[in-house]
């Protein structure tokens, strides 16, 4: 908030928004890095760091997506199931299996259909929320059930293997030795941060998230913004489903299991306000990394499952505390 920074031009206000959250959460992350680097020699190897990135990419993509509604004081509980059903739809359509037995379509079309499905779920919950004022908690919960049911129907509840290379390459290949899934994740992150920082839509998300009534009175199309954020999070969930196909090499009907809380936790861990109006993608990245590094480090150290849970609890608490203390 210094007057002197005021002239540093374009990048300046990304820093402002971040300033509050960004330099906080990073303390927890750095602490984790230091701890694990001291405790385990393989942790800091390039290979392992690339692994971590790879492991967090799916959660990361979903976290980016759900950052939009959270900034707008909405929530999306359907991301895990939308991710699942979209992935399964792309797979079954491309292979021509299960529900689409004999109706194989070209890969690009299958992908488009999957993304459109994700967008459709977001559109329905977004519309009901924005138009009728039903809390997005409820509308997206309904979508959670719907998407889950559709997933069962589409896949006939069995894994699909033998996916075309052109699909699995998106999330499962290497580009100059770097995992493609990580590139997808990071590109989406950058694009999303640019949208937030440099477009009207991004600005309006903060405005609506901060004070919906004021935003409405200042002439913002609040309905469109609220709906838009849920559509985006649906699309991002679908993209996560798409890259999961490449990461797993197959489409598994349970691939969304327990993928609801981690993305949302990453967003909050990254300093976003669950009640809207503040946060950003850089924070989300940090939150995603904290969760990923924590899991990876404990795996490397071979902690047993119960010890692992206890350690996760304690370290998480310390990390968030460090973040908050770091902000003061």
């Amino acid at each position: 908030m210094s007057q002197s920074v005021a002239d540093v031009s374009p990048f300046r206000d990304r820093l402002t928004i971040s300033a509050i959250s960004q330099y906080g959460p990073i303390i927890g992350l750095v602490g984790l890095y230091v701890a694990f680097a001291l405790l385990n020699d393989r942790f800091l190897t390039v290979g392992n760091q690339v692994n971590v990135l790879q492991q967090v990419s799916i959660i990361g993509i979903m976290a980016i997506g759900v950052t939009f509604p959270i900034l707008c004081a909405e929530i999306d509980l359907s991301i895990a199931q939308v991710m699942e059903v979209s992935g399964l739809t792309i797979a079954t359509l491309a292979v021509g299996a299960r529900l689409f037995e004999g109706f194989a379509v070209p890969v690009p079309l299958a992908i488009l259909a999957g993304l459109a499905l994700g967008a459709a779920f977001g559109t329905v919950s977004g519309y009901v929320t924005a138009r009728f004022g039903v809390p997005s908690f409820m509308t997206t919960l309904a979508m959670l059930f719907l998407a889950d049911g559709f997933g069962l129907i589409v896949s006939n509840n069995r894994p699909i293997i033998g996916l075309p290379e052109s699909i699995t390459a998106i999330g499962g290949s290497s580009v100059f030795g770097f995992p493609s899934i990580v590139l997808v994740f990071l590109s989406l992150l950058v694009v999303s941060q640019l949208i937030l920082s440099y477009t009207k839509f991004g600005l309006y998300i903060y405005a609506v998230g901060g004070d919906r009534t004021a935003a409405e009175r200042m002439g913002i199309n609040v309905m469109a913004v609220r709906m838009g954020t849920l559509v985006i999070s649906g699309i991002f969930a679908a993209i996560a489903g798409l890259v999961t196909l490449g990461r797993l090499g197959s489409a598994v009907p349970t691939m969304g299991a327990s993928l609801l809380l981690p993305p949302i936790a990453a967003v909050i861990l990254g300093g976003a306000n669950l009640f809207g109006g503040s946060g950003n993608m850089v924070g989300t990245l940090i939150g995603v990394l904290i969760l990923g590094v924590l899991g990876n480090g404990l795996n490397l150290m071979g902690v047993d499952p119960s010890g692992r849970l206890v350690a996760q609890g304690i370290v998480l608490m310390l990390a968030v505390l460090a973040n908050v203390v770091g902000q003061d």
């Binding site: 190897t45 509840n157 293997i161 797993l248 090499g249 197959s250 598994v252 327990s258 899991g295």
Partner: protein, 336 residues
């Protein structure tokens, strides 16, 4: 220390080893296949109305049970009002499912409990309502049951681990073989039992060494990440991977593949997708469970009980060892 729960019940049966092909239905179980008609069961008619409650259709295993159940329905083995319940992995939901079945006054109830202990009261209610209970796949800890039809998870764990050992021995000679285990959801009885089987195999075979064990929560994705971390930590030390289910084997395979490693991987369940992968890997395998047979055997046992016949307390459905050799047979048999 009352370690009452974990699957000790099924552990005894253990008839001949299961490398055979087990074509046809219900071959191995104790009871004969009383195909004939049933005289005057309740509910009017020879086809009883039954209910089957399973933990979660998220697992293909139970989806196959559902298919077998529906098949039995359309074959006229059970009435059309028969109901299938999916508890969505929720303990209390399963209790509710049983209660719904009881209020629907089914002729008998088949249940695969999420945990043996979680349904004690539900079973008691069924007993009180005079509804016979057949336990499938997972037993119940207390209460009256007609019989318990299941694979033996301890045995499955041991056999799969030993299958992995035999692969390791085939692929290279060594004094000891380091195996890593991917466990299921902590606290789940299957996890405990399969883990016990794994431990037995390690104890029984001097050449087998447990390198590491971590939970993959029965999920492909978690298994993939855990396996990646195992590879980072242990790298070439890993000689083989035992997964407590096939979905995790898919993840382990993917991680090994990405790391350009090729080591034996075995799972449990006989999941279609995993078996399909065998085609080009002689060191992959699984011990398949045969839910279709469990359901059919359970229905027959229930009908036999209604007909007044006596039914054995425990019927073990042997797991079927599936490797590259019999993969395509297996697939066409069960996934047509």
């Amino acid at each position: 220390g009352g370690d009452g729960g974990d699957g000790g019940d099924g552990g005894d049966g253990t008839a001949g080893d299961g490398g055979t092909e087990t074509t046809g239905d219900g071959g191995d179980g104790g009871t004969g296949t009383t195909e004939g008609t049933e005289e005057g069961t309740t509910g009017g008619g020879s086809t009883p109305t039954v209910a089957l409650s399973v933990p979660s259709l998220e697992f293909t295993f139970f989806a196959r049970m559902e298919n077998a159940f529906n098949q039995a329905k359309s074959d006229g083995m059970i009435s059309n009002e028969s109901a299938f319940y999916d508890a969505g992995n929720s303990q209390s939901q399963q209790v509710s499912d049983v209660e719904a079945a009881i209020s629907n006054e089914v002729d008998f109830l088949m249940i695969s409990a999420i945990t043996a202990e979680g349904v004690i009261n539900a079973i008691r209610q069924a007993n009180e309502a005079g509804i016979p209970v057949v336990a499938i796949d997972r037993n119940v800890a207390q209460g009256e049951t007609v019989t318990y039809v299941a694979s033996d998870n301890v045995q499955l764990g041991q056999r799969s681990t030993e299958l992995c050992l035999s692969f390791m021995q085939e692929s290279g000679d060594a004094d000891t073989y380091n195996v890593v285990q991917l466990e299921g959801t902590p606290g789940a009885s299957v996890t405990n039992e399969r883990g016990e089987g794994f431990q037995q195999a390690v104890d029984d075979n001097d050449s087998l060494n447990r390198l590491a064990s971590q939970t993959g929560e029965f999920s492909t994705q978690n298994a993939l990440s855990v396996m990646e971390d195992f590879i980072t930590q242990y790298g070439d030390e890993i000689d083989g991977v035992f997964c407590q289910n096939d979905l995790m084997a898919l993840g382990a395979h993917q991680a090994l593949n990405n790391a350009d490693m090729s080591v034996p991987v075995t799972g449990i369940d006989g999941t279609e997708a995993w078996v399909q992968l065998f085609a080009d890997n002689q060191y992959y395998g699984t011990i398949a469970q045969l839910p279709e047979e469990m359901v059919n055997t359970a229905i027959e046992s229930g009908k036999a009980h209604l007909a007044g016949e006596s039914v054995e307390d425990t019927i073990v459905i042997e797991g079927l060892e599936v490797t590259q050799d019999n993969a395509s047979n297996y697939l066409s048999e069960y996934f047509g």
